[in-house]
Symmetry: C2
Subunit: 331 residues, 2 copies
DNA sequence: TTGTACGCGTTATCAA
DNA sequence: TTGATAACGCGTACAA
């Protein structure tokens, strides 16, 4: 491995000078700069990020925490998009990232988790879809031990920003659209996410507002973002309702398939805009989010925090639409 | 940040002694060991992996390279399973992993790539579905610059192992089963993967063997593992054939949907066993692989290489089956 | 069994 | 504008 010493020797200068050239310090003459650059070229030298990390006390390693606690298969799609966006930004900012799944932390206390992350020299986090069940992670954020950006779980403090769409309005819009499109709309079944979750409540409030405005009988059931549970709920309640509104696409798909097995038709709408919907060929309304883009914005926000910015909430756009098979496969 | 020096001071010993305790050296008296352990506890000390990495010359950082070059959406599922398996093993072995997507390397020469990886202090790689188009990565492996394990791309040398199922036999079995199950089987369309790829050729050879044994007219087209291309191929050729055999589930799904749009029926079989198949509700034969498990075995193999083992090829099991919706959503 | 001293590759602080 | 030297936190010969 060719090091900065080798470069210094080859260029006939001190290694501190090489360092200055590499880091674009002004106090270097063009002549020495040239010598150094040539030596770097000839030796094929590349800086050792580990040594840089050790040397710079404030070096930042970013921990990405992806929630795969709900072990639905198709959370995969969302998680992957998040990662792709984050990795791209990491390269752009020259930041080192480490990926974790929440399941890895299940048996750790908040303290243990903190120690574990710090031992990895991680000082900032991007956390996707943090659920209230992950108490250890929540504590970390409240204690402000790390610079953090939360994606889709609103929580802000000095060192914490959050990024999400406006879940209230989005749920309101997609539900209203679905209801308006149909003639029978007296009895509505809402399959919510996880009981007590912030997002779940936001979306639920939207439905309640709609109920007041339009006036319909509302049944609320919690599907925990789980396709199978949504399916069971449909089997139990769908006979007595006109429309099914789901807090996620996955639950919506579970609902549609269950309905088709029961051989009855009820309009269904979802939430997320995952490509999987295109494959079910059941054209329903949903809220489309650009997960990759969202992840990138979260990274930008983290960068701002690291540069001294204050924690804040960022709202990003969404779109009420249908996911079509032909859009999904186009290449 | 509490360091090894703080622990040493608190325990009243030299930092080298602390180091020995931490690394379970035998040459430490129980008394000092206890003192040190107590100091570690009280201070909440955790080793700095970065410093360890710099100090140990042979420290291993593993680069995971996932191919998302074919930008099909549902490569996501496979990629995620690979990552989950790898991360789990990484934690088990206490190895640091860094994730890359092949697309990040597109504009790099083999030399640049090598330098980039080394600057990240990466000395070993697990590469998933390496395609022959990624020449820069191929060169790296041939030059044996890194300990590597290839998943699903057979290539072995002193520092390189590979892990995959027996693609020849698997393709043979699933194709034969599909053909046996049907009455009309005189004209068969095989939608292969990428022209010239090792796996593609393996699978193609299986089909040719079958052709000799059974005797049918064979049309071979290359779909590049792309759903859309498979679709186009179907539109063009399916009228004159009896059965469609695809080298991937994704292409099989594209084929099934295209056939249904044409309003004709042809038996189709796939390859991979992705859960997406369950959602299309088109029960077809496929070859199911456990991607997570495969990734774990690849990691085990890498560990063996690092411990001085020789490069070799590992064959892992598969299963010819159908992917059913109820299996996919069961929780 | 314990401690001293040095090296890992880099940045930062001074003094020259 | 340059260069010597001390950190950064840890592992490890080698000496005590």
């Amino acid at each position: 491995m060719v090091s900065i010493n080798d470069v210094a020797r080859k260029a006939g200068v001190a290694k501190s000078t090489v360092s200055k050239v590499l880091n674009n310090y002004q106090s270097v003459s063009d002549k020495t700069r040239l010598k150094v650059e040539r030596a770097v070229q000839e030796l094929g030298y590349v800086p050792n990020v580990v040594a840089i990390s050790l040397s710079k006390k404030e070096f930042n390693r970013v921990g990405l925490i992806v929630d795969i606690h709900h072990n639905n298969q198709f959370i995969d799609e969302i998680g992957m998009k998040y990662l792709i966006g984050a990795f791209e930004k990491a390269k752009e900012y020259h930041l080192d990232v480490v990926t974790f799944f929440t399941s890895q932390f299940n048996d750790m206390s908040s303290k243990q988790l903190s120690a574990y992350l710090k031992s990895q020299r991680i000082n900032c986090l991007i956390i996707y879809n943090l659920s209230i069940e992950n108490k250890n992670i929540y504590k970390l954020i409240e204690k402000q031990e790390f610079y953090s950006v939360l994606v889709d779980s609103l929580l802000v403090n000095e060192k914490t920003s959050s990024v999400s769409i406006d879940h209230f309005t989005a749920q309101y819009e997609v539900a209203k659209k679905t209801i308006d499109e149909n003639d029978f709309k007296k009895r509505i079944l809402y399959i919510a996410g996880g009981r007590g979750g912030y997002i779940t409540n936001q979306r639920l409030n939207a439905i309640k507002k709609l109920q007041k405005e339009i006036g319909f009988n509302l049944i609320v059931k919690y599907g925990d973002f789980n396709e199978y549970k949504a399916r069971q709920i449909i089997f139990e309640y769908s006979r007595d309702i006109d429309i099914v509104i789901c807090a996620s696409d996955l639950m919506a798909i579970g609902a549609v398939f269950a309905l088709s097995e029961m051989d009855i038709f009820r309009p269904v709408c979802g939430f997320d805009g995952i490509t999987l919907m295109g494959y079910t060929k059941s054209a329903m309304n949903t809220v489309e989010q650009n997960f990759c883009q969202k992840s990138k914005q979260a990274f930008d926000e983290l960068k701002k925090l690291l540069d001294g910015g204050e924690g804040r909430h960022i709202e990003i756009p969404y779109e009420v639409c249908r996911v079509d098979y032909m859009d999904v496969i186009q290449k």
